[in-house]
Amino acid sequence: MKKDLVVIGAGPAGLAAAISAYEEGIRDILIVERDNLLGGILNQCIHPGFGLFTFGEELTGPEYAARYIAKVKELGIEYMLDTMVMDITRDKVVTLSSGLKLEAGAIILAMGCRERPRGALNISGTRPSGIFTAGTAQRLMNIEGYMPGKEVVILGSGDIGLIMARRMTLEGAKVKMVVEIKEKSGGLARNIAQCLDDFNIPLLLNTTVTKIHGKDRVTGVTLSTGEYVSCDTILLSVGLIPENELSKKCGVRLEEGSNNIICSEDLMTDVDGVFCSGNVHHVHDLVDNVTKEAIKAGKSAAIYLRR
């Protein structure tokens, strides 16, 4: 089957890119999404802070996504849910988990990012249960309705970790502290103010976890200061990395270390007709900036298809 434009991922980047390409005159578009609903990670980001620049008001993640989802439906842009992209080739053949093969005129990569795994951390001790990445804990709490634990230490002070410190506190957990190995938090100042300071959760800088205690379940951690802190849950918020496993398959060039995509000014990757937008390109601080970039990618893809 042929498709003018295949957009991979239906998060903020994929939705805005598809809408933008449509508005530039492209009609034969397909968005492919592996989850069972549109909106991507925004669905679990139930806190406010989205859309200040795009809409001039503060929305929660699901509300921000809803505006783009409504637009996609209104325009009648085609999408497939519960569908994984298994492979992309250099000549833009996209293989889906259903077995369907699409010959795309152009592709926009919009797979977003994932969290750096705990394997990247060098912590001694056993590996009991009760250790989650902040994003996994967010999904468990906000989508699946499962409380990860009661007594929490957060390792790393990325924004998702800060947001989860507040979220878990609101639901009755005791968040004992956030420890950050660097001398400055990687999170936004506003999140330190409204997620930690509001609830008197200490942020320990220049500090890390050196040992995890517990056999079946986490019972505590030892900090680099030597202090022992009891807890049943550890959240890891040590950064995000572009989700580029798929991009590699068709030969998209990545920056070593960061996993960022190397692309032109108009967001075309090294592979002819394959564009990128949002966190798969590089991790953005703000969804508003993701949207802005996605609009540009949609335009570029449209120009490419028209030529």
Binding site: P48, P62, N142, G145, L170, A189, Q194
Partner: protein, 118 residues
């Protein structure tokens, strides 16, 4: 008294220095825009926050509906609002913007997502 506040109104997070006397702001510096001024005056005189959470739902695509207070509520009542939110059980379908709790601390709790029936 002098105190520094982080403006939470936008991602810039300006550090705003306030001179406070008898619970009132006398002078301000460090804010980039006037929203920072408004924020700090409010933070000193009657701090308030938006509360976001989830509510259980029966018969939906998923087990939870995300919700928020329509407007900010007094900061000291965050946990009171949470208590009320946690008492609610909804039945699908729930529409985006549906009122979940009416009239709580001068505002409503509304749904921030759509929840179709299973």
């Amino acid at each position: 008294m002098e105190k520094t506040y982080t403006c939470i109104n936008c991602p810039l997070g300006c550090q705003v220095k306030a001179v406070i006397s008898e619970g009132k702001v006398i002078s301000l510096s460090g804010n980039t825009c006037e929203k920072g001024e408004k924020y700090v005056v409010k933070e000193v005189e009657r701090p308030s926050r938006l509360v976001t959470s989830t509510v259980k739902v029966i018969g939906g695509r998923g087990p939870l509906v995300s919700v928020r207070t329509r407007e900010e509520i007094p900061k000291e009542h965050i946990f009171d609002v949470m208590d009320e939110i946690n008492k609610v059980v909804l039945k699908a379908p729930v529409g985006l913007g549906d009122v979940i709790i009416k009239d709580i601390f001068g505002t409503d709790v509304i749904s921030t997502c759509e929840m179709e029936e299973k």
